[in-house]
Subunit: 459 residues, 2 copies
């Protein structure tokens, strides 16, 4: 891996620093892994006459986008799980996963990272059952955070689940990449797949080893019914499988609070079904939220209380979730959808704004991961994680407000360049760190095999 | 204009005829303006050995998309009207329009058509104050329907409004293009801008001259309040301007019914606020609906009852509305949004489907315009209006369900080819009938002037 040590001056028609208003004809100077200057073209050219110049023209330079929730392993399933009720969707997903070899899972995760980088994501938070997502992030040069998932419905199996978790974590934490670009954390999956005891043990372990935590919570009505009343689809599954469940009789968020999970300041994924009391609990705890509006809509979960979270001061980032439930990994469309669905639901034409949404995609997303001192804005001293979004398209022009153009008109495919820590990962033609052609062919092979196997199982 | 008279065989990995299930490795044969055959590759090659072959590879061939509602003239305003309450939005739009010369309006409409064609729209329904949209559609080679708008708040001015309307209509109806590709109709704008008398006179005129009608209706709560109770923001504007308004005291749809407008089977735009009784009235009348979910969301109007319309058997098409309220003209994203916002609102993971939405974008859209015998599906005898959507992108792969891929993953920028009546309008690089570079430069000029003028007015 070679990181250019000379200075490079990146210029564009628009610069969007996030921490201050956008400005015209300017750029940033990158030296090694860092952003060292930002300003107008003339000023930067005068100050850095020796810098190599790259001019993106009718484009915007902005911080790389932060995807706070993905499941990279599931990329091979895109388009295979349509129009299914959530619990059925989970069951089909589980069945499909059994058809993937370890190597298939790795290819699937690589394809996911490829898509994410191409659409301008420079930091990706992945949750996975295997370390495939971690490896793919490391290989790709992207920044990220990998949460190792842990499951365990039976209280008495908590010890075994923990041993399995620790075994999986060790090689990841020892990997050199874990000390630089890709953090490692733990994700006890959800209240309907993790026993109370296992929740407590994962929190204890995470605290002891200073590992971040991530939990899927308050996603579906079925989950709320299960936790509050011990009823509904999840309760029926428990019953069929002879599993014990003592419903705590509270909201899923209150349940996490009572278990001591909130106190560990986890990244909470979804949170669609939160009452005012839940929001207050999250705000007080300092936990943060990964908001996945398209996945929540497509799976019929509803619309999460984003404006209320923000009013309560909770750090919120936007996530795409997996393409098995989205079916695309494009944070620009995700933010646009997130704004529009709130306006539709609240019948308000002024709720949220392009500026707010772009902040969620960058600096707030970074804050939700405690990375705001390193990434999320264009400021000297920060890591040189940045992208160029072309604004010359017929679907974007004319432009005199680059933030409105980026959030309301641009698409993932308008991203022309992405760098992480100064290293170019996407140059507008291809991702420099992955073999796109090979991956596409492998993904197609995997898919053909999956369909064949799945058809056999269902026959 | 030269239309190739020889046969061309268009091939792709997927063919999506709409009227029957998609199939693999096949294509269509086009002769002159018509589609003459559809089938598997081997069969078509054997049957048409002399045909010129064009193979789109990893792509889907499907009917051209039908945009049932646009305001092409407003393209220059994209991104200038953010975060405004609806009535204020209308006021700012009116102020901005005064800053455009007739030639500016024509360029703005051309830019709108360019964007639409590039994103796979082969039939575009435009509503405009001037004939700029009609001319742009004619020039571009697209199929379309142009509705000349008419306004008139004062009952006593209805005669004058009608004379103005007829004067504007005459050159359009006499244009050779009006006999082939671009129909002409009338659009009395909305209940708060058109007097009851003017509504009646436009209907009479439309019936006498067999012209289609189009009305913006039941879009905002403000409109419902105005029509039902004579109150709210529109009532206050009337009062300030000394205009008389006798609120009919019924829903906007019932009002149109009582005026005899519904009986003329208009294309109703928006219809966000419709009760069951309204839906029944529309269904009985045979009127059709232009559904614009993103515009409805962004302006805070809410979510229209799409599933209820469809259950009632109403022909519904999807429209992008203007980019002043969207801010992009991409029917693929529009349909995706339209599905997701319904699932979010109804908390249903099975409501609507990719197949349903693709039908709305093609055959149902055609039916909403009474064009279903000519366009909207790939069938021998129909006009050769079709597109190729690339499915090889990292954001789309792997694909084994092309309809899910098109509706849930593809974007306007994945469209690689568009033809109308056999004539190639977009070849993947540029729109063949419009000068893109010149248009972009003109649009930028217009915008700079607009911002300058608008800043002066507001100072």
């Amino acid at each position: 891996m070679t990181i250019p040590s000379a200075r490079t001056l990146y210029l564009a028609e628009w610069v969007v620093p996030i921490v201050r208003p956008p400005f015209r004809r300017g750029g940033i100077v990158v030296e090694g892994e860092r952003l060292v200057a930002i300003g107008g073209e003339a000023e930067l050219r005068a100050q850095f006459p020796e810098a190599v110049v790259r001019d993106f023209g009718e484009a915007a330079l902005l911080p790389g986008l932060v995807n706070v929730h993905a499941h990279l392993e599931l990329t091979a399933f895109r388009g295979m799980l349509e129009d299914l009720p959530f619990v059925k969707w989970l069951a089909v997903l589980t069945r499909l996963r059994e058809g993937l070899s370890a190597e298939d899972v790795r290819e699937s995760a690589r394809a996911g990272v490829l898509e994410a980088i191409r659409s301008g994501q420079t930091t990706i938070v992945d949750v996975g059952a295997t370390g495939a997502g971690f490896d793919a992030l490391c290989e790709s040069g992207a920044r990220g955070l990998f949460f190792q998932e842990v499951f365990g419905l039976r209280s008495e199996d908590a010890g075994e689940s923990m041993r399995g978790l620790i075994e999986r974590l060790q090689p990841l934490r020892a990997h050199p990449c874990a000390r630089t670009r890709v953090g490692v954390g733990i994700s006890p999956h959800a209240p309907y797949t993790v026993s109370a005891r296992l929740f407590r043990q994962t929190v204890e372990y995470a605290r002891a080893h200073a590992l971040p935590l991530c939990v899927h919570i308050a996603e579906s009505r079925a989950e709320v019914e299960f936790v509050r009343h011990g009823q509904g689809e999840f309760a029926r599954i428990y019953e069929r499988r002879g599993l014990l469940w003592h419903a705590p009789g509270v909201s899923p968020i209150r349940y996490l609070h009572d278990l001591g999970v909130l106190a560990a300041r986890p990244l909470l994924v979804h949170g669609v079904h939160m009452e005012d009391e839940d929001i207050a609990l999250v705000a007080q705890s300092g936990a943060t939220i990964a908001h996945c509006p398209k996945s929540n809509a497509k799976l019929g979960h509803g619309v999460a209380p984003l404006p209320e979270w923000m009013r309560a001061g909770i750090a919120v980032g936007i996530g795409t979730d997996s393409v098995a439930s989205n079916n695309t990994c494009d944070l620009l469309e995700e933010a646009r959808f997130g704004l529009l669905v709130q306006r539709a639901r609240r019948a308000s034409p002024t709720l949220l704004s392009a500026e707010t949404m772009l902040r969620l995609l960058t600096l707030e997303g970074a804050r939700a991961l405690s990375l705001e001192s390193r990434i999320g804005s264009l400021e000297p001293g920060k890591e040189a994680d940045f992208i160029a979004v072309d604004l010359s398209g017929a679907h974007v022009q004319p432009v005199d407000d680059p933030v409105a153009a980026i959030v309301f008109s641009a698409r993932g495919s308008d991203v022309r360049f992405a760098a992480v820590g100064g290293r170019v990962l996407f140059d507008g033609a291809s991702v420099t760190t992955l073999d796109e052609e090979r991956l596409r062919a492998r993904l197609r092979e995997i898919r053909t095999r999956l369909r064949h196997r799945d058809a056999l199982i269902r026959d």
